[in-house]
């Protein structure tokens, strides 16, 4: 055990220390050593890097890091979204990167339900995208305290979408987005994108890997046999990241792979894999082409719930996400320009969160579900029907004078639900730039003495347009079908149109 000191190759006056006990933690291509205070790690590439690779690392730890710091919400991105390397070192001809240590929430505090075998292990995404680990009958199922609920995975997907959005805004491509490169914590509803030293600067540094099988875009596999110099060869780029992002979101929400169905394309295993993910790739839930649908009799018993799209179809994610899944896995599967961009995923996920209802079954494992627009809404996960009336608020914005137009944004109301600024005003957009002031509720909905009411907490100019009654702060207004509630008289203030369903 010895403490080694290494100097930065960016600024020779900076140095780092790490503990070398002879057995570093081995990653795919790097050996990882911890600093004595465990605030950062020094991760050395096992094989020496060439000039281009070093140049890329230097840019990632200088230019692109500076871009993030100077851009919007730098603390959010550097603490809550990325583990971004912030310096580079060299020792014995090997290049290393300095990376902030992972937050303790990304290590299992319990792990398996039955023993401590993975306690303290990293929460890589794979644990949460496979159906078996959440099946209580499975001998190696994760403890329910580790799994979070369905909303956890919306927040995780939102974080990943924002991370990809930011990278793409900076002109970068991740090139190997997969469940191995994302740490997730369903408990605190957070996700961190890690292993960022492989980022691709399009046109400048070609990608070194084509990605991880489950996430490689079909066009990359389809042209894999061509030489790197061939103009037809497609390497990982922002569009292929968008395929990987769609697959990740699908897997986090639905715990199965969107393209791994029952179709056999070739009797040779490797060829079959290549075709199933490449030129023949086909959505398992394609509405018209059933060729690749899941053969449910071939599922392992632990996978029979989430693995079966008939039990929980992709449409259980609601209208906004369903539309994007169709674009990603039907229209855009072989047409990269059609794929939804990260920003669209973020918006659709956020809008879907507003459609979510709590399940009234207290032992429901997912606890939340998306209202499915039917007469008899029920939780798709445990089957419990919705009890009582269900108010729906559609958001409208002022087009001009007295003309209001729909936002295409709906709020499903439940007891003790909050209303936020981003609902009340067009001027506040729900994204990573929101400050703490913007995240305070401006009102809330409750079921009070057999009536649904909205209580005004912080909005000025709230008014019931049917009765023309003002609703000052700390006053409430009853929600009735056909009700029109102006939320704010400020510019950009929205109107809620109320419908009560499930009567």
């Amino acid at each position: 055990m010895q403490i080694v000191k290494v100097n930065s190759i960016i600024d020779a006056s900076r140095y780092y220390e790490y503990v070398d006990n002879g057995s570093p933690k081995q990653g795919g291509v790097k050996d990882v050593y911890f600093s004595p205070d465990r605030k950062y790690v020094v991760a050395f590439f096992r094989t020496p890097l060439d000039y281009n690779q070093k140049d890329r690392i230097k840019r990632i730890v200088t230019l692109y890091l500076e871009n993030i710091k100077k851009g919007n919400a730098p603390d959010y991105f550097l603490q809550d979204i990325y583990r971004w390397p912030y310096d580079a070192v060299e020792r014995d001809g090997k290049t290393g990167v300095i990376v902030p240590i992972y937050d303790s929430r990304f290590f299992f505090s319990k792990g398996y339900g039955v023993n401590d075998n993975i306690k303290g292990g990293e929460k890589v995404g794979k644990w949460f995208t496979a159906p078996s680990f959440r099946n209580k009958q499975y001998p190696l199922s994760l403890d329910s305290s580790e799994l979070g609920d369905w909303i956890s995975y919306f927040q995780i997907a939102i974080s990943i979408s924002r991370g990809v959005k930011k990278m793409h805004q900076m002109g970068l491509a991740h090139s190997d987005l997969s469940y191995n490169n994302v740490l997730v914590d369903p408990v605190t509803k957070s996700a961190n994108i890690i292993d960022l030293d492989g980022l691709v600067v399009p046109g400048l540094f070609p990608p070194e890997v084509i990605g991880t099988a489950d996430f490689i875009a079909p066009e990359v596999l389809r042209t894999k046999h061509l030489k790197l110099s061939d103009v037809g060869r497609i390497l990982p780029n922002q569009r292929t990241d968008l395929h990987a992002l769609a697959v990740l979101i699908y897997m986090y929400l639905l715990r199965r792979h969107p393209l791994r169905g029952g179709k056999i394309w070739d009797l040779d295993t490797e060829k079959d894999e290549l075709m199933a993910m490449g030129e023949k790739a086909l959505f398992v839930e394609h509405p018209n082409d059933k060729t690749n649908q899941v053969k449910t009799d071939q599922l392992r018993k632990w996978e029979s719930f989430w693995g079966n799209p008939e039990k929980i179809p992709y449409t259980a994610t609601g209208p906004y996400l369903s539309e994007l899944f169709r674009r990603a896995f039907i229209d855009g599967l072989h047409n990269p320009m059609m794929r939804p961009i990260a920003n669209e995923w973020e918006t659709a996920l956020l809008k879907t969160v507003d459609l979510i209802q709590p399940c009234s079954n207290t032992s429901c494992e997912e606890k939340w579900y998306v209202f499915d627009n039917t007469d008899k809404p029920a939780c798709p996960f445990c089957g419990t029907p919705h009890k009582g009336t269900l108010p729906v608020a559609d958001l409208y914005y002022k087009f001009k004078n007295d003309i209001w137009k729909p936002e295409g944004h709906r709020l499903m109301i439940y007891h003790n639900q909050y209303l936020f600024k981003w609902h009340a005003s067009r001027k506040v957009i729900r994204n990573e730039n929101l400050g703490p002031e913007d995240k305070k509720p401006v009102g809330y909905f409750v079921f009070h003495q057999h009536k649904w009411v909205l209580v005004n907490l912080a909005l000025d100019g709230m008014k019931d347009l049917v009765t023309q009654q003002e609703i000052p702060r700390n006053a409430m207004v009853e929600l009735t079908s056909g009700g029109k509630i102006l939320l704010s008289n400020e510019e950009g203030g929205r109107l809620l149109y109320i419908t009560i369903t499930n009567l």
Binding site: P139, T212, I264
Partner: protein
């Protein structure tokens, strides 16, 4: 989902009694414990154990890591390696699924044969049968001075040698087997490619000498 079948053929002849057989049992248990920390291995790897002494027995059929339960092993008798190869060939035929137009088959199997001596039966008969059915990678391990690696070398190009059949060496060997299974299951899942040679497995520890 495709499985990665892993067969461990373990010598339980009389010469293994005492420290070596205890080390083998411990090694298998440590291996399962470690593999259960790797979600990709848990999803893909299935493990079977075939022991050979005077006879060959499949003590554990091809089993997923979650359900795997180690059994007690006793060292006695001679070294019927030929019978073990014959039994392995049977199991590869019956337990490993090949791809059909209706169903995805398994990945190519990974076989580890560990012995501290030399076959006492007609190993070539078993070997001939195995040759006809095996498509996967076989790794031979000659454990200790008494181990005859000439036979292993005829069975596979991938042979490693342990200088001693003591608990430390055997434990190192199982650590390497664990890493090999981990790497292979990750590789098949991440790259869609199969492992075909020793050079694609992680480097063996210093006490393991690759001799072929």
């Amino acid at each position: 989902m495709r499985r990665l079948p892993v067969y461990l053929l373990l010598d339980t002849s009389g010469s293994m009694s005492g420290e070596p057989i205890e080390a083998v049992k411990n090694g298998v248990q440590m291996m399962i414990h470690s593999l259960r920390q790797n979600p990709q291995a848990i999803e893909t790897a299935f493990v079977s154990i075939i022991t050979f002494d005077t006879t060959a027995i499949q003590v554990i059929p091809l089993t997923d890591l979650a359900s795997f339960q180690m059994v007690d092993l006793k060292a006695r008798g001679v070294t019927a390696m030929g019978a073990a190869l014959h039994l392995l060939a049977d199991k590869l035929q019956n337990e490993v699924a090949s791809t059909t137009p209706e169903q995805k088959g398994d990945w190519k199997p990974l076989v580890f044969i560990m012995t501290d001596g030399g076959p006492t039966d007609d190993w070539q008969r078993g070997h001939n049968k195995l040759k006809a059915v095996n498509k996967g990678l076989i790794v031979g391990c000659a454990a200790g001075h008494g181990a005859d690696d000439t036979v292993l070398k005829q069975i596979t190009n991938s042979v490693v040698r342990l200088d001693n059949a003591d608990s430390e060496s055997i434990s190192k060997f199982f650590q390497w087997v664990t890493a090999s299974i981990s790497t292979t299951s990750t590789k098949v899942e991440e790259s869609g490619k199969e492992v075909t040679g020793l050079e694609q497995l992680p480097p063996p520890p210093s006490k393991l000498v690759i001799i072929a």
